[in-house]
Amino acid sequence: MKLSVFGESPADEGAVRILVEAILGRPTEPISPPLESRGWPFLRNNLSKVIRHLMFSTETEALVVVTDADSSPIHHPDHEQAGSRYADCRLCCLRDIVEREQKQLSSDSLKIAIGLAVPSIEAWYLCGTDTRGSEAAWLQTEERKRNTMYRNRLKYAVYQTERPTLELEKRCATAAAQRLAQDISLLETHFPKGFGPLIKTIRTW
């Protein structure tokens, strides 16, 4: 499968590809997204361009988009009922963009799956090795109001520094994804709201 991954950094994109391959049970052929992402608003503002580019200028079959939730509301199954999408939920926001594009282009030939890493992808990397590696840990922590500090702590736990170089990020993200790929149900169990919808969609491919 020719697969493109659009995430918040090149390190995330490599790790997410490993997870997708574990879900699919087969290797994928990478297609680079045309843009290098620079975090949430950039991803939201440019997703339409990425979809159009992949559809018209490449032979990409599937696109996986993963964004950090940061301090935004976490996706809830209630949001999935027609008409009840929640504007501040990043997963809902990205789904709206995808549906709008598919409608405008009258095509859903490009398969698209979206994941929300709560509160950041580093929490996924910690799943199974650190108590902070779950959505529940984030929902229960008193530190939710201090999102930046919490994110930095997660980074430290993954990279042993709050300021990893891209090279170090890639190395740690790859190692974590390879570990998680051994038992993908771990992420599904601990991140039901943000990883759940992603795995559900990919399993239909």
């Binding site: 930095n152 709050e162 300021r163 170089t165 090279e167």
Partner: protein, 332 residues
């Protein structure tokens, strides 16, 4: 480490305090005192090389009894020390005064003397030089080839790590090569990954030369104690700014990359919203220079009220560009 610098009557900085950390990125409009602050820090490290008349605030020129003062609040180990440098209108030699509990201040003087300011220039970086084992990278990047040559001979592991970093940052190249254009002279070139052609420094793109100088600085075994950088992103493609950030963090947080050398205090300026975006998780490292009439004020971004709310759903660079944070040019 210099915790803060107070400037009095130094050029555009009539009365301003600049808060600093191990890494500080100063943003602000032209003429907001960013470069002046860097020059002031350098002047304080070697006070005898600066004179009252060339540095006093324009509105104070010709006034008797005025002084230029630059005060560093420093932490040295666990000790807090203030170091005041004062230039007087009678042009007497500058005075350096310390306050705080320290057995000797000589170590601080020695460390501060290793303050360097860089405003890199591609032509200077590319220039071939007469070999000199004591050369360091000049303010404009000149002498780079000598420094690289020494690194290769004296720290081969670091030189190899630099070559690897070059290949990651600029994948079209894989190695730094040296040549002798004439006796006693040294020049460098970069080898292309594909075809292994040697591209002479003079024919290398400006952005690549700037990137190479920054990378080299980050891989030195003994970089300056304080590095002031004017617009390290200038001339470098926005996609490569993450590498600029990595190089600067490599200098100031060596423990994060398992390097056992001393951390370097890095103070950089920028006009780039793209570079600023990369510091979203560290608002305490961003200082905004505000120009208010003839005065300048420096504020840490982390001390802006409602910063989390402002950042919600927006890029940091975009918010700064919008003017909400201040530190942008105004029009009449």
């Amino acid at each position: 480490m210099i915790e803060s610098v107070h400037f009095k009557n130094f050029k555009a900085l009539r009365d301003a305090t600049l808060p600093l950390g191990r890494f500080t990125l100063i943003i602000g409009p032209n003429g907001s005192g960013k470069s002046t602050a860097l020059k002031g820090i350098q002047a304080t490290s070697r006070p005898e090389s600066h004179f009252y008349l060339q540095s006093v605030t324009a509105s104070k020129r010709g006034m008797d009894e005025e002084t230029i003062e630059i005060i560093f609040d420093l932490t040295y180990g666990n000790v807090k020390v203030a170091r005041q440098v004062c230039w007087r209108s009678d042009n007497s030699p500058p005075q350096v005064r310390y306050s705080g509990e320290m057995p000797t201040f000589a170590d601080i003087d020695t460390a501060l003397a290793r303050t360097r300011i860089y405003s890199l220039n591609p032509q200077a970086i590319a220039a071939s030089v007469t070999l000199n084992p004591y050369t360091e990278i000049g303010e404009d990047g000149s002498g780079l080839v000598s420094v690289l040559d020494r690194l290769r001979d004296e720290n081969p592991e670091r030189f190899e790590a630099l070559n690897e970093a070059l290949g990651r940052w600029l994948p079209e190249f894989d190695r730094i090569l040296f040549s002798t254009p004439q006796q006693g002279m040294r020049a460098f070139s970069l080898r292309t990954r594909e075809g292994r052609y040697s591209i002479a420094a003079a024919d290398i793109s400006q952005g690549t030369l700037l990137a190479l100088a920054l990378m080299t600085l980050a891989y030195l075994p003994d970089p300056p104690a304080v590095v002031c950088l004017e617009e390290p992103d200038r001339g470098i493609h926005p996609r490569l700014l993450r590498d600029v950030q990595d190089a600067l963090y490599r200098l100031s947080y060596p423990e994060g990359i398992d390097d056992d050398r001393q951390p370097v205090q890095v103070i950089a300026t920028t006009h780039s919203p793209y570079l600023l975006d990369l510091y979203r998780d560290h608002p305490e490292e961003i200082v905004i220079a505000h120009k208010e009439g003839l005065d300048v004020r420096f504020d840490r971004l982390s001390e802006q009220p409602y910063i989390d709310e402002l950042l919600h759903g927006s890029q940091l660079g975009e918010i700064w560009y919008s003017g909400i944070l201040g530190g942008v040019p105004t029009r009449i």
